[in-house]
């Protein structure tokens, strides 16, 4: 048995609240452990903010987010018509080992997504980015 939630999200940071509320509701319904709720929220926030901040030149745009909760996994799919972005190829590895003063600010969001998801797939289709990530429910 699985449940699927589809959201249309605008490229405004306040939209995160609606995403978090959706996750909280599902987590409560299915009695997720807090660590799973944390991870799901984090992946949605980081990937969502990346589209909001870097996907488009200007203006408010809308993209699709779906959240599917299956028996063993949570699948998150983002579909956006922003500029092509394949996190598997287009992301520089973050600097994680320099001293405090040399540590760059930022660049961690997509790194978090890659570290916290168990599978990540990307395809560009009909001028849209399809980014599909899976989180296992048990570590």
């Amino acid at each position: 048995m699985s449940s699927r939630i589809d959201l249309k999200v605008e490229t405004r940071h306040e939209e995160l609240q609606r995403i978090f509320a959706t996750v909280e509701e599902l987590a409560e319904e299915e009695d997720w452990p807090p660590a799973l709720t944390f991870k799901t929220n984090l992946v949605l926030e980081e990937f969502g903010l990346n589209i909001m901040n870097y996907g488009y030149d200007e203006g408010i745009h809308t993209f699709d987010v779906s959240l599917t909760s299956g028996a063993d996994t949570i699948t998150i799919e983002f579909v956006d018509d922003g500029r092509p972005f394949n996190p598997l190829e287009d992301v520089k590895a973050p600097v994680l080992d320099s001293e405090i003063q040399d540590r760059p600010i930022g660049g961690l969001g997509i790194h978090f997504v890659m570290e916290l998801t168990d599978d990540f797939q990307y395809r560009r289709e009909n001028s849209r980015n399809h980014s599909i990530m899976t989180i296992r429910k048990s570590d």
Partner: protein, 111 residues
């Protein structure tokens, strides 16, 4: 999100609770900054009641760590929940900010 501060001897203890995400990270930054004095030499960030932090919040932690280092102050974090600890570790922040299991051990280590 809320930040409470307390001075214990020469240590400043900042206790953050709730959620720090992309929508309130700048408030978190203002709240932390307003509690820190230039004369502070040791700051403990107690994250026991922090339920969520994203890269936007970690960015603030790093900015504060940079400020503190510039003023010659030491910083430590304590009482992280498992998921918060995990984001510190995957960010490599545990290498630049010592993490302790309790406030007492963090204060002890800062001296």
């Amino acid at each position: 999100m809320n930040v409470e501060s307390r001075r214990e001897g020469t240590n400043l203890v900042l206790k953050a609770d709730g959620r720090v995400d992309g929508t309130n990270a700048s408030e978190f930054q203002d709240a932390m900054k307003s509690e820190i004095n230039e004369s502070d030499r040791a700051v403990v960030l107690d994250l026991e009641d922090l339920t969520y932090i994203s890269s936007a919040g970690l960015r603030v932690v790093l900015l504060i760590a940079k400020d503190l280092q510039r003023q010659g102050a030491k910083m430590a974090a304590c009482s992280l929940s498992d998921p918060v600890r995990e984001v510190f570790v995957i960010s490599g922040f545990d290498k630049i900010i010592p993490i302790h299991d309790s406030q007492d051990s963090a204060i002890g280590a800062l001296g």
